[in-house]
Symmetry: C2
Subunit: 321 residues, 2 copies
Protein backbone atom coordinates (compact mmCIF):
# COMPACT_ATOMS: atom_id res chain seq x y z
CA UNK A 1 0.00 0.00 0.00
CA UNK A 2 1.26 3.48 -0.85
CA UNK A 3 2.70 5.55 1.98
CA UNK A 4 0.27 8.34 0.93
CA UNK A 5 -2.70 6.03 1.59
CA UNK A 6 -1.37 5.11 5.04
CA UNK A 7 -0.84 8.79 5.84
CA UNK A 8 -4.39 9.65 4.82
CA UNK A 9 -5.77 6.76 6.89
CA UNK A 10 -3.75 7.93 9.91
CA UNK A 11 -5.42 11.33 9.67
CA UNK A 12 -8.84 9.75 9.10
CA UNK A 13 -8.38 7.62 12.22
CA UNK A 14 -7.84 10.64 14.41
CA UNK A 15 -10.70 12.72 13.11
CA UNK A 16 -14.36 12.60 14.04
CA UNK A 17 -16.15 11.93 10.74
CA UNK A 18 -19.79 11.12 10.08
CA UNK A 19 -20.09 11.57 6.31
CA UNK A 20 -18.06 10.84 3.19
CA UNK A 21 -18.56 12.67 -0.08
CA UNK A 22 -17.13 11.09 -3.24
CA UNK A 23 -16.55 13.91 -5.70
CA UNK A 24 -15.16 13.68 -9.23
CA UNK A 25 -16.15 13.82 -12.90
CA UNK A 26 -16.52 11.23 -15.66
CA UNK A 27 -14.08 8.33 -15.51
CA UNK A 28 -12.67 9.37 -12.12
CA UNK A 29 -16.21 9.43 -10.75
CA UNK A 30 -17.10 6.00 -12.11
CA UNK A 31 -14.71 4.29 -9.68
CA UNK A 32 -16.55 5.91 -6.80
CA UNK A 33 -19.83 4.12 -7.56
CA UNK A 34 -18.21 1.00 -6.13
CA UNK A 35 -17.03 2.98 -3.09
CA UNK A 36 -20.58 4.22 -2.55
CA UNK A 37 -21.88 0.66 -2.80
CA UNK A 38 -19.30 -0.46 -0.21
CA UNK A 39 -20.37 2.28 2.19
CA UNK A 40 -24.05 1.42 1.73
CA UNK A 41 -23.43 -2.29 2.30
CA UNK A 42 -20.83 -2.12 5.06
CA UNK A 43 -21.11 1.04 7.11
CA UNK A 44 -23.31 1.11 10.20
CA UNK A 45 -23.16 4.87 10.78
CA UNK A 46 -21.15 6.79 8.18
CA UNK A 47 -23.31 8.25 5.44
CA UNK A 48 -21.95 8.47 1.93
CA UNK A 49 -22.78 10.56 -1.11
CA UNK A 50 -21.54 10.60 -4.67
CA UNK A 51 -21.47 13.85 -6.63
CA UNK A 52 -20.27 15.10 -9.98
CA UNK A 53 -17.90 17.92 -8.97
CA UNK A 54 -19.82 20.86 -10.39
CA UNK A 55 -23.15 19.63 -9.00
CA UNK A 56 -21.45 19.28 -5.60
CA UNK A 57 -20.31 22.91 -5.61
CA UNK A 58 -23.59 24.37 -6.85
CA UNK A 59 -25.93 22.16 -4.84
CA UNK A 60 -23.77 22.86 -1.79
CA UNK A 61 -25.01 19.99 0.39
CA UNK A 62 -26.10 21.38 3.73
CA UNK A 63 -24.64 18.44 5.63
CA UNK A 64 -21.12 19.16 4.36
CA UNK A 65 -19.08 20.37 7.33
CA UNK A 66 -15.98 19.79 9.45
CA UNK A 67 -17.10 16.26 10.21
CA UNK A 68 -17.11 15.41 6.50
CA UNK A 69 -14.46 13.54 4.56
CA UNK A 70 -14.36 14.56 0.90
CA UNK A 71 -12.53 12.16 -1.41
CA UNK A 72 -11.75 13.61 -4.83
CA UNK A 73 -10.04 12.25 -7.91
CA UNK A 74 -8.65 13.68 -11.15
CA UNK A 75 -5.98 11.91 -13.17
CA UNK A 76 -4.05 14.96 -14.31
CA UNK A 77 -5.33 16.95 -11.33
CA UNK A 78 -6.43 19.72 -13.69
CA UNK A 79 -10.18 19.11 -13.93
CA UNK A 80 -11.38 22.63 -13.05
CA UNK A 81 -14.66 21.48 -11.47
CA UNK A 82 -12.85 19.03 -9.18
CA UNK A 83 -10.20 21.58 -8.19
CA UNK A 84 -13.01 23.99 -7.33
CA UNK A 85 -14.83 21.25 -5.40
CA UNK A 86 -11.74 20.63 -3.25
CA UNK A 87 -11.37 24.35 -2.53
CA UNK A 88 -15.08 24.58 -1.71
CA UNK A 89 -14.97 21.54 0.60
CA UNK A 90 -12.03 22.96 2.56
CA UNK A 91 -13.85 26.27 2.92
CA UNK A 92 -16.66 24.28 4.58
CA UNK A 93 -14.13 22.77 6.99
CA UNK A 94 -14.19 19.28 5.49
CA UNK A 95 -11.16 17.01 5.36
CA UNK A 96 -10.07 16.69 1.72
CA UNK A 97 -8.19 13.68 0.37
CA UNK A 98 -7.43 13.81 -3.35
CA UNK A 99 -6.24 11.10 -5.70
CA UNK A 100 -4.17 12.19 -8.67
CA UNK A 101 -1.29 11.05 -10.87
CA UNK A 102 0.41 14.44 -10.71
CA UNK A 103 1.80 15.67 -7.37
CA UNK A 104 2.31 19.18 -8.76
CA UNK A 105 -1.19 19.58 -10.17
CA UNK A 106 -3.72 22.26 -9.14
CA UNK A 107 -5.77 19.58 -7.34
CA UNK A 108 -2.70 18.58 -5.31
CA UNK A 109 -2.13 22.19 -4.36
CA UNK A 110 -5.62 22.87 -3.03
CA UNK A 111 -6.16 19.54 -1.22
CA UNK A 112 -5.24 18.88 2.39
CA UNK A 113 -4.00 15.34 1.69
CA UNK A 114 -2.84 14.06 -1.65
CA UNK A 115 -2.47 10.47 -2.77
CA UNK A 116 -0.29 10.20 -5.85
CA UNK A 117 -1.25 6.92 -7.46
CA UNK A 118 0.64 4.87 -10.02
CA UNK A 119 -0.50 4.30 -13.57
CA UNK A 120 0.82 2.68 -16.72
CA UNK A 121 1.94 -0.70 -17.91
CA UNK A 122 4.69 -1.17 -15.32
CA UNK A 123 2.80 0.07 -12.30
CA UNK A 124 1.76 -2.03 -9.34
CA UNK A 125 -2.00 -2.50 -9.67
CA UNK A 126 -2.38 -2.23 -5.88
CA UNK A 127 -1.14 1.35 -6.22
CA UNK A 128 -3.46 2.38 -9.05
CA UNK A 129 -6.51 4.54 -8.41
CA UNK A 130 -9.21 1.79 -8.36
CA UNK A 131 -7.22 -0.08 -5.71
CA UNK A 132 -6.54 3.08 -3.71
CA UNK A 133 -10.26 3.89 -3.61
CA UNK A 134 -11.03 0.48 -2.07
CA UNK A 135 -8.15 0.77 0.41
CA UNK A 136 -9.42 4.17 1.51
CA UNK A 137 -13.03 3.12 2.13
CA UNK A 138 -12.15 -0.14 3.86
CA UNK A 139 -9.43 1.66 5.84
CA UNK A 140 -12.03 4.20 6.94
CA UNK A 141 -14.47 1.43 7.88
CA UNK A 142 -11.77 -0.42 9.82
CA UNK A 143 -10.69 2.69 11.71
CA UNK A 144 -14.13 4.05 12.55
CA UNK A 145 -16.29 0.94 12.82
CA UNK A 146 -13.95 -2.00 13.26
CA UNK A 147 -14.92 -3.51 9.90
CA UNK A 148 -12.71 -6.57 9.47
CA UNK A 149 -12.35 -6.75 5.69
CA UNK A 150 -9.47 -4.28 5.26
CA UNK A 151 -6.65 -6.84 5.27
CA UNK A 152 -8.50 -9.07 2.82
CA UNK A 153 -8.97 -6.10 0.49
CA UNK A 154 -5.29 -5.17 0.64
CA UNK A 155 -4.02 -8.71 0.05
CA UNK A 156 -6.57 -9.31 -2.73
CA UNK A 157 -5.52 -6.13 -4.51
CA UNK A 158 -1.85 -7.16 -4.22
CA UNK A 159 -2.73 -10.40 -5.99
CA UNK A 160 -4.82 -8.79 -8.70
CA UNK A 161 -2.39 -7.94 -11.52
CA UNK A 162 -1.86 -11.56 -12.73
CA UNK A 163 -5.61 -12.20 -12.37
CA UNK A 164 -6.36 -9.24 -14.63
CA UNK A 165 -3.72 -10.32 -17.12
CA UNK A 166 -5.15 -13.83 -17.29
CA UNK A 167 -8.68 -12.47 -17.68
CA UNK A 168 -7.51 -10.34 -20.60
CA UNK A 169 -5.70 -13.27 -22.22
CA UNK A 170 -8.79 -15.43 -21.83
CA UNK A 171 -11.03 -12.84 -23.52
CA UNK A 172 -8.72 -11.49 -26.21
CA UNK A 173 -10.32 -13.58 -28.96
CA UNK A 174 -13.79 -12.58 -27.72
CA UNK A 175 -12.76 -8.92 -27.73
CA UNK A 176 -11.56 -9.19 -31.33
CA UNK A 177 -14.77 -10.96 -32.37
CA UNK A 178 -16.81 -8.26 -30.59
CA UNK A 179 -14.89 -5.52 -32.37
CA UNK A 180 -15.42 -7.13 -35.75
CA UNK A 181 -19.12 -7.78 -35.23
CA UNK A 182 -20.04 -4.45 -33.61
CA UNK A 183 -17.74 -1.99 -35.38
CA UNK A 184 -20.57 -0.44 -37.43
CA UNK A 185 -23.08 -0.02 -34.60
CA UNK A 186 -24.44 3.47 -33.99
CA UNK A 187 -25.56 2.72 -30.43
CA UNK A 188 -24.39 0.19 -27.83
CA UNK A 189 -25.95 0.02 -24.37
CA UNK A 190 -24.22 -1.27 -21.24
CA UNK A 191 -26.04 -2.76 -18.25
CA UNK A 192 -25.18 -3.62 -14.65
CA UNK A 193 -26.22 -3.01 -11.04
CA UNK A 194 -24.74 -2.66 -7.57
CA UNK A 195 -20.94 -2.58 -7.34
CA UNK A 196 -20.63 -2.86 -11.13
CA UNK A 197 -22.92 -0.05 -12.24
CA UNK A 198 -20.06 2.48 -12.27
CA UNK A 199 -18.14 0.30 -14.72
CA UNK A 200 -21.14 0.19 -17.06
CA UNK A 201 -21.31 3.99 -16.71
CA UNK A 202 -17.57 4.36 -17.40
CA UNK A 203 -17.73 2.21 -20.52
CA UNK A 204 -20.81 4.06 -21.82
CA UNK A 205 -19.68 7.65 -21.30
CA UNK A 206 -15.88 7.43 -21.54
CA UNK A 207 -15.09 4.56 -23.89
CA UNK A 208 -18.09 4.53 -26.23
CA UNK A 209 -19.31 8.15 -26.23
CA UNK A 210 -16.06 10.03 -25.62
CA UNK A 211 -13.48 7.82 -27.29
CA UNK A 212 -15.52 6.13 -30.04
CA UNK A 213 -18.38 8.63 -30.68
CA UNK A 214 -20.88 5.80 -30.37
CA UNK A 215 -24.22 6.57 -28.70
CA UNK A 216 -24.65 4.85 -25.37
CA UNK A 217 -26.37 4.77 -22.00
CA UNK A 218 -25.60 2.79 -18.86
CA UNK A 219 -28.79 0.95 -18.05
CA UNK A 220 -29.43 -0.05 -14.45
CA UNK A 221 -30.48 -3.71 -14.42
CA UNK A 222 -33.17 -2.98 -11.80
CA UNK A 223 -34.64 0.01 -13.60
CA UNK A 224 -34.52 -1.83 -16.91
CA UNK A 225 -38.00 -3.37 -16.61
CA UNK A 226 -39.59 -0.03 -15.78
CA UNK A 227 -39.11 1.68 -19.12
CA UNK A 228 -35.85 1.02 -21.00
CA UNK A 229 -36.60 -2.60 -21.92
CA UNK A 230 -39.30 -1.53 -24.38
CA UNK A 231 -36.60 -0.27 -26.75
CA UNK A 232 -35.11 -3.75 -27.13
CA UNK A 233 -35.44 -5.56 -30.43
CA UNK A 234 -33.27 -8.17 -32.11
CA UNK A 235 -30.85 -5.54 -33.40
CA UNK A 236 -30.15 -3.53 -30.22
CA UNK A 237 -26.65 -4.24 -28.84
CA UNK A 238 -26.30 -4.47 -25.07
CA UNK A 239 -23.17 -5.29 -23.10
CA UNK A 240 -24.39 -7.14 -20.01
CA UNK A 241 -22.10 -7.19 -16.98
CA UNK A 242 -22.53 -9.81 -14.27
CA UNK A 243 -20.66 -9.26 -11.04
CA UNK A 244 -20.35 -11.16 -7.79
CA UNK A 245 -22.08 -8.81 -5.38
CA UNK A 246 -25.49 -9.08 -3.75
CA UNK A 247 -27.29 -7.49 -6.73
CA UNK A 248 -26.22 -10.23 -9.15
CA UNK A 249 -29.83 -11.54 -9.29
CA UNK A 250 -30.80 -8.22 -10.94
CA UNK A 251 -28.12 -8.66 -13.59
CA UNK A 252 -29.10 -12.31 -14.16
CA UNK A 253 -32.72 -11.28 -14.59
CA UNK A 254 -31.98 -8.59 -17.16
CA UNK A 255 -29.65 -11.00 -18.99
CA UNK A 256 -32.35 -13.65 -19.21
CA UNK A 257 -34.68 -11.09 -20.75
CA UNK A 258 -32.24 -9.50 -23.18
CA UNK A 259 -31.09 -12.92 -24.40
CA UNK A 260 -34.73 -13.97 -24.86
CA UNK A 261 -35.66 -11.03 -27.11
CA UNK A 262 -32.30 -9.69 -28.32
CA UNK A 263 -29.74 -11.14 -30.69
CA UNK A 264 -26.91 -8.69 -30.07
CA UNK A 265 -26.19 -9.31 -26.39
CA UNK A 266 -22.58 -9.38 -25.21
CA UNK A 267 -22.05 -11.04 -21.81
CA UNK A 268 -19.15 -10.41 -19.47
CA UNK A 269 -19.48 -12.49 -16.34
CA UNK A 270 -17.02 -12.14 -13.45
CA UNK A 271 -17.71 -15.80 -12.62
CA UNK A 272 -15.86 -16.82 -15.77
CA UNK A 273 -12.52 -15.64 -14.40
CA UNK A 274 -10.14 -17.35 -12.01
CA UNK A 275 -10.14 -15.18 -8.87
CA UNK A 276 -7.78 -17.35 -6.84
CA UNK A 277 -6.00 -14.94 -4.51
CA UNK A 278 -9.04 -12.71 -4.03
CA UNK A 279 -10.62 -13.33 -0.62
CA UNK A 280 -14.09 -14.77 -1.11
CA UNK A 281 -16.05 -12.27 0.95
CA UNK A 282 -14.65 -9.25 -0.92
CA UNK A 283 -14.98 -10.70 -4.44
CA UNK A 284 -18.16 -8.71 -5.03
CA UNK A 285 -16.22 -5.47 -4.51
CA UNK A 286 -13.25 -6.57 -6.64
CA UNK A 287 -15.28 -7.96 -9.57
CA UNK A 288 -15.81 -4.45 -11.07
CA UNK A 289 -12.03 -4.07 -11.43
CA UNK A 290 -11.80 -7.36 -13.34
CA UNK A 291 -14.72 -6.39 -15.57
CA UNK A 292 -13.09 -3.02 -16.18
CA UNK A 293 -9.80 -4.55 -17.33
CA UNK A 294 -11.62 -6.90 -19.71
CA UNK A 295 -13.84 -4.11 -21.05
CA UNK A 296 -10.86 -1.87 -21.64
CA UNK A 297 -9.49 -4.54 -23.97
CA UNK A 298 -12.87 -4.70 -25.75
CA UNK A 299 -12.62 -0.95 -26.33
CA UNK A 300 -9.05 -1.21 -27.61
CA UNK A 301 -10.03 -3.87 -30.13
CA UNK A 302 -13.10 -1.88 -31.15
CA UNK A 303 -10.93 1.21 -31.72
CA UNK A 304 -8.59 -0.82 -33.93
CA UNK A 305 -11.42 -2.37 -35.94
CA UNK A 306 -13.03 1.05 -36.44
CA UNK A 307 -9.72 2.79 -37.17
CA UNK A 308 -10.78 5.36 -34.58
CA UNK A 309 -8.00 5.52 -31.93
CA UNK A 310 -9.16 5.85 -28.33
CA UNK A 311 -7.23 9.12 -28.10
CA UNK A 312 -9.27 10.86 -30.84
CA UNK A 313 -11.21 13.92 -29.65
CA UNK A 314 -13.11 16.69 -31.40
CA UNK A 315 -13.82 18.97 -28.42
CA UNK A 316 -11.92 17.82 -25.30
CA UNK A 317 -8.71 19.82 -24.78
CA UNK A 318 -9.34 21.48 -28.18
CA UNK A 319 -12.11 24.03 -27.72
CA UNK A 320 -13.31 26.17 -24.83
CA UNK A 321 -16.21 24.85 -22.77
Amino acid sequence: MLADVQKALDVIKQRELDRVFFVACGGSSSLMYTSQYVMDRESTAIDAYLYSSNEFVHCSPKKLNEKSLVILCSHYGKTPETVEAARFAREKGALTVSLTFDPESPLSQVSEHVIVYEDGKNSDFANESPAVMLELVFGLLAAREGNGKFNEIVSSLENLRPILNKAKEKTLADAKAFADSYKSEKIIYTMASGANYGIAYWFAICLLMEMQWIHSHALHAGEYFHGPFEVLDEDVPIIQLLGLDETRPLEERSLEFTQRYGKRIIVLDAKDFDLTGVAERVQGYIAPLVLQAVLRQYAEELATARQHPLSTRRYMWKVAY
Copy 2:
Protein backbone atom coordinates in the same frame (compact mmCIF):
# COMPACT_ATOMS: atom_id res chain seq x y z
CA MET B 1 -53.45 18.92 1.40
CA LEU B 2 -54.74 15.36 1.58
CA ALA B 3 -55.75 14.02 4.99
CA ASP B 4 -53.46 11.04 4.29
CA VAL B 5 -50.45 13.37 4.00
CA GLN B 6 -51.31 15.09 7.27
CA LYS B 7 -51.68 11.71 8.98
CA ALA B 8 -48.28 10.58 7.71
CA LEU B 9 -46.70 13.86 8.85
CA ASP B 10 -48.27 13.47 12.31
CA VAL B 11 -46.58 10.07 12.65
CA ILE B 12 -43.29 11.42 11.27
CA LYS B 13 -43.36 14.23 13.84
CA GLN B 14 -43.55 11.82 16.72
CA ARG B 15 -40.87 9.46 15.56
CA GLU B 16 -37.11 9.73 15.93
CA LEU B 17 -35.80 9.58 12.37
CA ASP B 18 -32.30 10.14 11.05
CA ARG B 19 -32.49 8.82 7.49
CA VAL B 20 -34.94 8.82 4.58
CA PHE B 21 -34.85 6.27 1.79
CA PHE B 22 -36.73 7.10 -1.41
CA VAL B 23 -37.59 3.78 -3.03
CA ALA B 24 -39.44 3.20 -6.31
CA CYS B 25 -38.96 2.19 -9.94
CA GLY B 26 -39.00 4.07 -13.26
CA GLY B 27 -41.46 6.95 -13.46
CA SER B 28 -42.37 6.75 -9.77
CA SER B 29 -38.68 6.96 -8.92
CA SER B 30 -38.04 9.96 -11.14
CA LEU B 31 -40.10 12.23 -8.88
CA MET B 32 -37.86 11.31 -5.99
CA TYR B 33 -34.75 12.81 -7.57
CA THR B 34 -36.21 16.20 -6.72
CA SER B 35 -36.94 15.01 -3.17
CA GLN B 36 -33.33 13.87 -2.83
CA TYR B 37 -32.13 17.26 -4.08
CA VAL B 38 -34.36 19.00 -1.50
CA MET B 39 -32.94 16.87 1.31
CA ASP B 40 -29.35 17.54 0.16
CA ARG B 41 -29.95 21.29 -0.06
CA GLU B 42 -32.16 21.81 2.97
CA SER B 43 -31.54 19.21 5.64
CA THR B 44 -28.96 19.83 8.33
CA ALA B 45 -28.95 16.32 9.80
CA ILE B 46 -31.28 13.88 8.02
CA ASP B 47 -29.48 11.78 5.44
CA ALA B 48 -31.31 10.77 2.29
CA TYR B 49 -30.84 8.01 -0.25
CA LEU B 50 -32.56 7.16 -3.50
CA TYR B 51 -32.85 3.54 -4.62
CA SER B 52 -34.46 1.56 -7.38
CA SER B 53 -36.63 -0.90 -5.43
CA ASN B 54 -34.86 -4.12 -6.37
CA GLU B 55 -31.40 -2.66 -5.76
CA PHE B 56 -32.64 -1.50 -2.34
CA VAL B 57 -33.71 -5.01 -1.35
CA HIS B 58 -30.60 -6.77 -2.64
CA CYS B 59 -28.04 -4.18 -1.55
CA SER B 60 -29.77 -4.12 1.84
CA PRO B 61 -28.28 -0.84 3.10
CA LYS B 62 -26.73 -1.44 6.51
CA LYS B 63 -27.96 1.90 7.84
CA LEU B 64 -31.61 0.97 7.24
CA ASN B 65 -33.21 0.51 10.67
CA GLU B 66 -36.00 1.62 13.00
CA LYS B 67 -34.85 5.24 12.74
CA SER B 68 -35.36 5.19 8.97
CA LEU B 69 -38.27 6.58 7.02
CA VAL B 70 -38.85 4.73 3.75
CA ILE B 71 -41.02 6.55 1.22
CA LEU B 72 -42.24 4.35 -1.63
CA CYS B 73 -44.37 4.98 -4.69
CA SER B 74 -46.15 2.86 -7.27
CA HIS B 75 -49.12 4.14 -9.26
CA TYR B 76 -51.12 0.93 -9.39
CA GLY B 77 -49.42 -0.32 -6.23
CA LYS B 78 -48.61 -3.57 -7.99
CA THR B 79 -44.93 -3.10 -8.88
CA PRO B 80 -43.56 -6.34 -7.37
CA GLU B 81 -40.12 -4.90 -6.56
CA THR B 82 -41.64 -1.96 -4.69
CA VAL B 83 -44.10 -4.14 -2.77
CA GLU B 84 -41.15 -6.34 -1.77
CA ALA B 85 -39.13 -3.26 -0.80
CA ALA B 86 -41.91 -2.10 1.55
CA ARG B 87 -42.12 -5.51 3.15
CA PHE B 88 -38.33 -5.63 3.50
CA ALA B 89 -38.18 -2.13 5.02
CA ARG B 90 -40.81 -3.00 7.64
CA GLU B 91 -38.91 -6.15 8.51
CA LYS B 92 -35.92 -3.88 9.28
CA GLY B 93 -38.13 -1.80 11.57
CA ALA B 94 -38.32 1.24 9.31
CA LEU B 95 -41.37 3.47 9.06
CA THR B 96 -42.95 2.93 5.62
CA VAL B 97 -45.05 5.57 3.87
CA SER B 98 -46.30 4.57 0.42
CA LEU B 99 -47.85 6.68 -2.31
CA THR B 100 -50.28 4.96 -4.64
CA PHE B 101 -53.45 5.59 -6.63
CA ASP B 102 -55.07 2.35 -5.46
CA PRO B 103 -55.96 1.99 -1.76
CA GLU B 104 -56.62 -1.75 -2.20
CA SER B 105 -53.32 -2.53 -3.94
CA PRO B 106 -50.64 -4.93 -2.65
CA LEU B 107 -48.40 -1.94 -1.83
CA SER B 108 -51.19 -0.43 0.29
CA GLN B 109 -51.56 -3.71 2.13
CA VAL B 110 -47.91 -4.12 3.10
CA SER B 111 -47.18 -0.47 3.98
CA GLU B 112 -47.61 1.04 7.42
CA HIS B 113 -48.99 4.32 6.09
CA VAL B 114 -50.62 4.80 2.73
CA ILE B 115 -51.21 8.04 0.86
CA VAL B 116 -53.79 7.61 -1.86
CA TYR B 117 -53.11 10.41 -4.30
CA GLU B 118 -55.35 11.83 -6.99
CA ASP B 119 -54.70 11.54 -10.70
CA GLY B 120 -56.46 12.40 -13.93
CA LYS B 121 -57.78 15.44 -15.74
CA ASN B 122 -60.16 16.54 -12.98
CA SER B 123 -57.87 16.01 -10.03
CA ASP B 124 -56.48 18.73 -7.80
CA PHE B 125 -52.80 19.04 -8.74
CA ALA B 126 -51.91 19.66 -5.09
CA ASN B 127 -53.13 16.12 -4.42
CA GLU B 128 -51.21 14.41 -7.20
CA SER B 129 -48.06 12.42 -6.50
CA PRO B 130 -45.42 15.05 -7.45
CA ALA B 131 -47.06 17.53 -5.07
CA VAL B 132 -47.43 14.94 -2.32
CA MET B 133 -43.70 14.11 -2.53
CA LEU B 134 -42.79 17.78 -1.96
CA GLU B 135 -45.30 18.12 0.88
CA LEU B 136 -43.84 15.06 2.55
CA VAL B 137 -40.20 16.17 2.42
CA PHE B 138 -40.88 19.75 3.45
CA GLY B 139 -43.28 18.51 6.15
CA LEU B 140 -40.52 16.26 7.44
CA LEU B 141 -38.02 19.13 7.36
CA ALA B 142 -40.46 21.42 9.17
CA ALA B 143 -41.24 18.86 11.85
CA ARG B 144 -37.69 17.67 12.51
CA GLU B 145 -35.56 20.72 11.75
CA GLY B 146 -37.86 23.73 11.82
CA ASN B 147 -37.39 24.38 8.09
CA GLY B 148 -39.68 27.31 7.26
CA LYS B 149 -40.54 26.60 3.62
CA PHE B 150 -43.41 24.14 4.18
CA ASN B 151 -46.24 26.69 3.97
CA GLU B 152 -44.77 28.23 0.84
CA ILE B 153 -44.57 24.81 -0.78
CA VAL B 154 -48.19 24.00 0.09
CA SER B 155 -49.58 27.32 -1.15
CA SER B 156 -47.43 27.21 -4.30
CA LEU B 157 -48.67 23.71 -5.12
CA GLU B 158 -52.27 24.84 -4.59
CA ASN B 159 -51.70 27.56 -7.18
CA LEU B 160 -49.98 25.32 -9.69
CA ARG B 161 -52.74 23.86 -11.89
CA PRO B 162 -53.49 27.10 -13.82
CA ILE B 163 -49.75 27.75 -14.13
CA LEU B 164 -49.24 24.33 -15.71
CA ASN B 165 -52.22 24.84 -18.00
CA LYS B 166 -50.88 28.18 -19.18
CA ALA B 167 -47.41 26.73 -19.71
CA LYS B 168 -48.93 23.99 -21.85
CA GLU B 169 -50.98 26.47 -23.86
CA LYS B 170 -47.92 28.62 -24.41
CA THR B 171 -45.89 25.66 -25.72
CA LEU B 172 -48.52 23.76 -27.69
CA ALA B 173 -47.33 25.12 -31.03
CA ASP B 174 -43.71 24.38 -30.08
CA ALA B 175 -44.68 20.85 -29.08
CA LYS B 176 -46.36 20.28 -32.46
CA ALA B 177 -43.34 21.70 -34.30
CA PHE B 178 -41.04 19.47 -32.23
CA ALA B 179 -43.14 16.43 -33.05
CA ASP B 180 -43.10 17.18 -36.74
CA SER B 181 -39.38 17.88 -36.89
CA TYR B 182 -38.20 15.00 -34.68
CA LYS B 183 -40.68 12.24 -35.49
CA SER B 184 -38.14 10.21 -37.48
CA GLU B 185 -35.26 10.42 -35.01
CA LYS B 186 -33.76 7.15 -33.79
CA ILE B 187 -32.19 8.71 -30.69
CA ILE B 188 -33.03 11.79 -28.62
CA TYR B 189 -31.02 12.75 -25.54
CA THR B 190 -32.34 14.75 -22.60
CA MET B 191 -30.15 16.87 -20.32
CA ALA B 192 -30.53 18.58 -16.94
CA SER B 193 -29.00 18.81 -13.46
CA GLY B 194 -30.00 19.34 -9.84
CA ALA B 195 -33.72 19.36 -9.08
CA ASN B 196 -34.55 18.74 -12.76
CA TYR B 197 -32.39 15.71 -13.47
CA GLY B 198 -35.18 13.30 -12.53
CA ILE B 199 -37.45 14.86 -15.15
CA ALA B 200 -34.80 14.37 -17.82
CA TYR B 201 -34.52 10.76 -16.61
CA TRP B 202 -38.31 10.30 -16.68
CA PHE B 203 -38.60 11.65 -20.21
CA ALA B 204 -35.70 9.50 -21.44
CA ILE B 205 -36.69 6.15 -19.95
CA CYS B 206 -40.49 6.37 -19.73
CA LEU B 207 -41.63 8.63 -22.54
CA LEU B 208 -38.98 8.05 -25.21
CA MET B 209 -37.72 4.52 -24.52
CA GLU B 210 -40.82 2.89 -23.06
CA MET B 211 -43.64 4.68 -24.83
CA GLN B 212 -42.02 5.64 -28.14
CA TRP B 213 -39.23 3.02 -28.56
CA ILE B 214 -36.76 5.80 -29.27
CA HIS B 215 -33.22 5.38 -27.94
CA SER B 216 -32.36 7.83 -25.20
CA HIS B 217 -30.20 8.69 -22.21
CA ALA B 218 -30.57 11.35 -19.54
CA LEU B 219 -27.33 13.29 -19.63
CA HIS B 220 -26.22 15.09 -16.48
CA ALA B 221 -25.24 18.64 -17.45
CA GLY B 222 -22.21 18.49 -15.13
CA GLU B 223 -20.94 15.14 -16.35
CA TYR B 224 -21.55 16.16 -19.96
CA PHE B 225 -18.09 17.65 -20.49
CA HIS B 226 -16.34 14.59 -19.13
CA GLY B 227 -17.25 12.15 -21.89
CA PRO B 228 -20.73 12.40 -23.40
CA PHE B 229 -20.17 15.70 -25.24
CA GLU B 230 -17.81 14.04 -27.73
CA VAL B 231 -20.78 12.30 -29.34
CA LEU B 232 -22.37 15.61 -30.32
CA ASP B 233 -22.52 16.59 -33.96
CA GLU B 234 -24.96 18.76 -35.90
CA ASP B 235 -27.49 15.95 -36.20
CA VAL B 236 -27.71 14.76 -32.58
CA PRO B 237 -30.99 15.83 -30.93
CA ILE B 238 -30.84 16.95 -27.31
CA ILE B 239 -33.69 18.25 -25.19
CA GLN B 240 -32.09 20.75 -22.83
CA LEU B 241 -33.95 21.55 -19.61
CA LEU B 242 -33.21 24.71 -17.67
CA GLY B 243 -34.60 24.98 -14.18
CA LEU B 244 -34.50 27.59 -11.45
CA ASP B 245 -32.43 25.84 -8.81
CA GLU B 246 -28.83 26.43 -7.77
CA THR B 247 -27.42 24.17 -10.50
CA ARG B 248 -28.86 26.29 -13.32
CA PRO B 249 -25.32 27.45 -14.26
CA LEU B 250 -24.53 23.82 -15.20
CA GLU B 251 -27.55 23.68 -17.50
CA GLU B 252 -26.71 27.07 -19.03
CA ARG B 253 -23.17 25.91 -19.70
CA SER B 254 -24.21 22.71 -21.45
CA LEU B 255 -26.80 24.65 -23.44
CA GLU B 256 -24.20 27.14 -24.65
CA PHE B 257 -22.05 24.24 -25.85
CA THR B 258 -24.77 22.17 -27.48
CA GLN B 259 -26.13 25.22 -29.30
CA ARG B 260 -22.61 26.08 -30.47
CA TYR B 261 -21.96 22.68 -32.08
CA GLY B 262 -25.42 21.16 -32.48
CA LYS B 263 -28.31 22.06 -34.75
CA ARG B 264 -30.99 19.85 -33.21
CA ILE B 265 -31.20 21.33 -29.71
CA ILE B 266 -34.62 21.73 -28.10
CA VAL B 267 -34.71 24.15 -25.16
CA LEU B 268 -37.26 24.14 -22.36
CA ASP B 269 -36.54 26.89 -19.87
CA ALA B 270 -38.58 27.27 -16.69
CA LYS B 271 -37.84 31.00 -16.85
CA ASP B 272 -40.13 31.30 -19.86
CA PHE B 273 -43.22 30.52 -17.80
CA ASP B 274 -45.28 32.78 -15.59
CA LEU B 275 -44.83 31.40 -12.07
CA THR B 276 -46.91 34.04 -10.31
CA GLY B 277 -48.32 32.29 -7.26
CA VAL B 278 -45.22 30.18 -6.68
CA ALA B 279 -43.19 31.55 -3.77
CA GLU B 280 -39.85 32.78 -5.02
CA ARG B 281 -37.60 30.79 -2.73
CA VAL B 282 -39.20 27.46 -3.62
CA GLN B 283 -39.36 28.03 -7.39
CA GLY B 284 -36.26 25.90 -7.92
CA TYR B 285 -38.06 22.91 -6.41
CA ILE B 286 -41.30 23.52 -8.32
CA ALA B 287 -39.72 24.15 -11.73
CA PRO B 288 -39.34 20.38 -12.43
CA LEU B 289 -43.12 19.99 -12.18
CA VAL B 290 -43.66 22.73 -14.75
CA LEU B 291 -41.05 21.22 -17.07
CA GLN B 292 -42.70 17.83 -16.64
CA ALA B 293 -46.14 19.11 -17.67
CA VAL B 294 -44.69 20.79 -20.74
CA LEU B 295 -42.63 17.73 -21.69
CA ARG B 296 -45.63 15.45 -21.31
CA GLN B 297 -47.33 17.52 -23.99
CA TYR B 298 -44.23 17.21 -26.20
CA ALA B 299 -44.50 13.43 -25.86
CA GLU B 300 -48.21 13.45 -26.66
CA GLU B 301 -47.62 15.42 -29.84
CA LEU B 302 -44.70 13.19 -30.77
CA ALA B 303 -46.87 10.10 -30.32
CA THR B 304 -49.52 11.59 -32.59
CA ALA B 305 -47.01 12.57 -35.26
CA ARG B 306 -45.43 9.11 -35.17
CA GLN B 307 -48.78 7.31 -35.01
CA HIS B 308 -47.34 5.40 -32.06
CA PRO B 309 -49.75 5.90 -29.11
CA LEU B 310 -48.10 6.41 -25.70
CA SER B 311 -49.92 3.33 -24.46
CA THR B 312 -48.25 0.95 -26.96
CA ARG B 313 -46.11 -1.77 -25.36
CA ARG B 314 -44.41 -4.89 -26.65
CA TYR B 315 -43.27 -6.44 -23.35
CA MET B 316 -44.74 -4.56 -20.36
CA TRP B 317 -47.83 -6.33 -18.96
CA LYS B 318 -47.63 -8.74 -21.93
CA VAL B 319 -44.79 -11.16 -21.26
CA ALA B 320 -43.17 -12.58 -18.14
CA TYR B 321 -40.03 -10.85 -16.85
